[in-house]
């Protein structure tokens, strides 16, 4: 029943995608009135098919319908409701289903968003690309990644249950959907990039649209990555949050290229430059999501969280090849004709800084990609010999790039467009730079050694101060200009708020979030300490300045697991309970760490071994400073992204021009009408006379 329903849904979505593609192609080749419009209906049909399939899968999981192989492998009678639901993305076939439904949501949202422009060739081509991608993913579910296959033989009375690590923390409900909302979301910008290359229209209007979809996807990808790091910290018991695992890298690479695009697209919107480059970045972002999907699902790279090997690999690799060939082929065909006239006037300008930023992000991506596939390349060249690329490689190459990006983050917001002078820079950067120096001196006095942490903290303070300065100036500017025209205090506060929201300031809040993450990462990795404490009941021990007292033990039983907890009092304060749980069907145990988290430092406790009877327990203790900054930084990035989606202050024609340089609007670019807010100079209106 569930199987039939599910197959029906997948088939409906696949058929709708294929028919939609054909109808659009025909209408594009032989134009007739309303032809392109008629193809819109297939998007909601794809979504409907996806919803039917998801409903069938959820119903099967929640009712423990073990006639489906997928359910028998990823669910058991004792699995709680929450982890039955998350079972849908606990294994390969179900994760493709999640991919499919999200793709269905995006294609429907896109068609709805452009419903009034459905006759536009560019929209039609973009929709066509979306349909092809949908056809591919739902096609996978008809073939090698079928989530609805029946068990062969008798229906089992119980199932294996999800991987025990996936039923230990509710974050698993959020992390994969967020990640997929991000990864899948990059399909829309890709579709528009292909469409603008095919139609030869690279006007900034479409870049504005693409930017907004990219920002949306990027925000969710950021949330997904941060939640993944948080999950790994909460669940895996080694006190870490990032391991340069291929699966992590697979989500990081599109994020990096997407970040580069979000910056360089501003150069295009503002100055009309870097058009082909931006299209390349969008195509690269999507290609990397497909490559990442291949790497994590084909079994060519073993990873601690790769899915089990399957025959889906060659199909994904083939799709990656097609995506890349189409994207790069189109650029080869059209690229030289679409190039923007003119160039960057001075390297010491906002666009120059964005260009440097882009080069660093692309280099970063290349480093991660090389580290991820290098073992494969090495093995192919030296037949059979194996090599592993570990954290030292990544750290050595990524730290300098990261420091370079922090430096750009500090300097770029103060740079005006077109060109700058030493006087302007001195004026705008003196205070932030001084703050950076103060932080470095403070750190040295405080006993922090090591060139990399000092640089990270100093540049971090510099960048945060630079972003803070931009925020303060624009709020103050908006407030003052409101007061200047005689507005009441309430109206001026509203104006100040309007000055605060909007794209540029959202970006600055994101920058501050990134600084938090950079500082947290540096502190936790450079100054973390890990060790063990062997304690008998009632004993206490000290590690890295923290006292841990072993107060007692407790056994907690739930229908799905038996959990053995240790009660540990940290520094004479609250009691924390690391645990080891055993789940129903297996004897496999999973540890649950307990974390005493504070703004300055985390104490992370795990049970390493329980004696047979009596005797002393061994506890793992990890003390890392500033771990919480990572999560705060992640939250700030989300807040900043939301801010930059809120329309900011609209500049009335009577308002004073924001800054002297703002008046030099490039003649080639009309101010895009769609842009939510004209971008303000970092020196807000407040500095205008």
């Amino acid at each position: 029943m569930n199987g039939t329903l599910g197959h029906t849904g997948v088939l409906l979505a696949f058929a709708a995608a294929v028919v939609g593609t054909v109808v659009l192609l025909v209408a594009l080749v032989r134009p007739r009135p309303g032809g392109l419009r008629a193809a819109r209906i297939y998007a909601p049909l794809i979504l409907l098919g996806g919803v039917v399939a998801v409903v069938a899968m959820q119903r099967a999981l929640i009712t423990h319908d073990f006639s489906l192989t997928y359910v028998a492998d990823n669910n058991s009678r004792s699995t709680p409701l929450l982890y039955s639901i998350t079972g849908m993305w606990s294994a390969l076939a179900g994760s493709i289903l999640l991919w499919g439904i999200i793709l269905g949501i995006y294609v429907t949202a896109m068609v709805w968003r452009f419903r009034s422009r459905a006759d536009d060739q560019l929209v039609a081509w973009a929709t066509l690309v979306m349909y092809v991608v949908c056809a591919f993913f739902f096609g996978l579910m008809l073939g090698p990644a079928d989530p609805f296959t029946h068990v062969s033989g008798a229906i089992p009375t119980n199932g294996l249950g999800p991987n025990v690590l996936l039923q230990d923390n509710p974050l698993v409900l959020f992390h994969p959907p967020m990640l997929y909302l991000g990864l899948v979301g990059f399909t829309v910008p890709f579709a528009f990039a292909v469409a603008s290359l095919v139609t030869g229209r690279v006007d900034e209007d479409w870049q504005g649209e693409t930017r907004r979809w990219t920002l949306f996807a990027w925000t969710f990808l950021t949330i997904g990555i941060v939640l993944g790091a948080w999950w790994s910290y909460q669940v895996l018991g080694w006190g870490g949050f990032w391991a340069w695992d291929p699966v992590e890298n697979a989500s990081l690479m599109p994020w990096l290229v997407g970040t580069a695009y979000l910056h360089s697209v501003m150069v295009q919107q503002r100055r009309g430059l870097l058009r082909v480059w931006n299209l390349s970045l969008v195509i690269a972002t999507f290609s990397l999501t497909i490559l990442g999907t291949f790497l994590t699902r084909s079994g060519v790279i073993q990873s601690v969280h790769s899915f089990s090997a399957s025959s889906i690999g060659p199909l994904l690799l083939g799709f990656f090849g097609v995506v890349l060939a189409v994207g790069v082929g189109l650029i080869a065909w059209r690229g030289d004709r679409l190039r923007s006239p003119g160039g960057i006037d001075s390297p010491l300008s906002r666009e120059g800084a964005f260009l440097a930023n882009n080069l660093l992000f692309v280099l970063f991506t290349f480093v991660v990609l090389l580290g991820t596939v290098f073992p494969l390349l090495y093995e192919a060249v030296n037949s059979g010999a194996q090599v592993a690329v570990g954290a030292p490689y990544f750290n050595r190459l990524v730290i300098p790039i990261g420091l370079g990006l922090l430096f750009l983050m500090a300097v770029a917001p103060a740079l005006p467009w077109r060109k700058s002078s030493a006087d302007v820079m001195r004026d705008r950067l003196a205070v932030p730079a001084a703050l950076g120096v103060v932080v470095v001196v403070g750190c040295v006095i405080g006993g922090i050694h090591g060139i990399e942490p000092l640089l990270a903290f100093g540049l971090g303070a510099f960048a945060a101060a630079s972003a803070g300065r931009a925020l303060v100036l624009s709020v103050r500017g908006a407030w003052r200009s409101a007061r200047g025209v005689g507005a009441s205090t309430a109206r001026a506060i509203l104006a100040g708020w309007r000055g605060f929201v909007g794209r540029a300031n959202g970006g600055m809040v994101v920058h501050i979030g990134v600084v938090f993450i950079a500082v947290g990462l540096t502190a936790a990795t450079a100054f973390g300490q890990r060790g063990t404490l062997v304690l008998a009941h009632g004993e206490s021990g000290t590690f890295a300045g923290h006292t841990v007292e072993f107060v007692g033990t407790r056994v907690v039983r739930t229908p799905s697991n038996i959990s053995q907890q240790a009660l540990l009092r940290i520094d004479g304060g609250a009691v924390f309970t690391p645990a080891i749980s055993q789940f129903g069907t297996g004897t496999q145990a999973v540890g649950t760490p307990a974390i005493d988290s504070s703004v300055t430092s985390d104490v992370y406790l795990t049970i390493n071994s329980i004696p047979a009877k009596g005797g002393s327990w061994t506890f793992g203790v990890v003390v890392q400073p500033l771990v919480m900054w990572l999560w705060v930084g992640g939250a700030l990035i989300v807040v900043g992204s939301i801010l930059s989606a809120v329309p900011g202050r609209r500049r009335r024609p009577t308002d004073p021009v924001s800054a002297p340089l703002g008046a030099v609007a490039p003649p080639v670019v009309p101010e895009p009408e769609l842009a939510p807010a004209p971008e303000r100079e970092p020196v807000g209106a407040g500095e205008a006379p």
Binding site: S280, A284, G321, G335, F366, T587
Partner: protein, 199 residues
């Protein structure tokens, strides 16, 4: 993929319109396609799960303790540091890939019995002690096999599925983590690499 970098050269100079640079995007695209085709060819020809060594935060760290009762009921504890290379293998009798690697482990153990530079320790993972005992007996395993009934050792090493194998250096550091069936020559290769890098 990141090879899309080359088109970057296009927008920089103000005189980019000159005929000399007209085909930058085309040549850059061709270069990217050639590189990508090479990458795809390599990826397409890799047999699945060929690279079995994975990154783990444990690699480079001191090995977590390995002690407990063996499947025969004897107490066992791995000395720290162990003094020789130790291959720590997590297995289950029901696990099909474990059956593939079983004979290879026996071969490895036999070869290194003579030289004495490496030894094997197995740990039962998600299996009953009785089943594991008879499995090891059938295989002809002479090395210690720990029962680990509560999965404590597996937990310390972050093992999620059998077979998982760790190579521990004589100084007690974990130097490799493999999550696929191993062969004797794989293990010899890893030991040679560890020796070369000064373990």
């Amino acid at each position: 993929m990141t090879g899309v970098l080359p088109p970057e050269t296009t927008p920089v100079p103000p005189q980019a319109q000159s005929t000399r640079r007209r085909h930058t995007a085309r040549w850059a695209a061709v270069a990217v396609l050639v590189v990508a085709a090479g990458l795809i060819a390599v990826l397409a020809t890799r047999p699945p799960a060929d690279v079995s060594e994975v990154q783990s935060p444990l690699v480079g760290q001191q090995a977590p303790p390995v002690r407990g009762l063996t499947v025969d009921g004897k107490a066992f504890a791995l000395t720290r540091p162990p003094g020789t290379f130790v291959v720590l293998n997590f297995f289950a009798s029901w696990c099909e890939p474990c059956q593939t690697e079983g004979p290879e482990l026996v071969r490895f153990a036999f070869e290194h019995q003579q030289t004495g530079d490496a030894r094997l320790v197995s740990v039962v993972f998600d299996d009953t002690t009785a089943a594991a005992r008879s499995y090891q007996a059938t295989l002809g395993a002479t090395w210690p096999t720990l029962a680990d009934p509560r999965g404590v050792i597996a937990l310390g090493y972050g093992v999620r599925a059998p077979p998982s194998t760790f190579l521990i250096a004589p100084d007690g550091r974990v130097v490799a983590y493999i999550v696929a069936p191993v062969t004797a020559s794989d293990l010899d290769g890893l030991i040679a690499r560890a020796k070369a890098t000064g373990a």
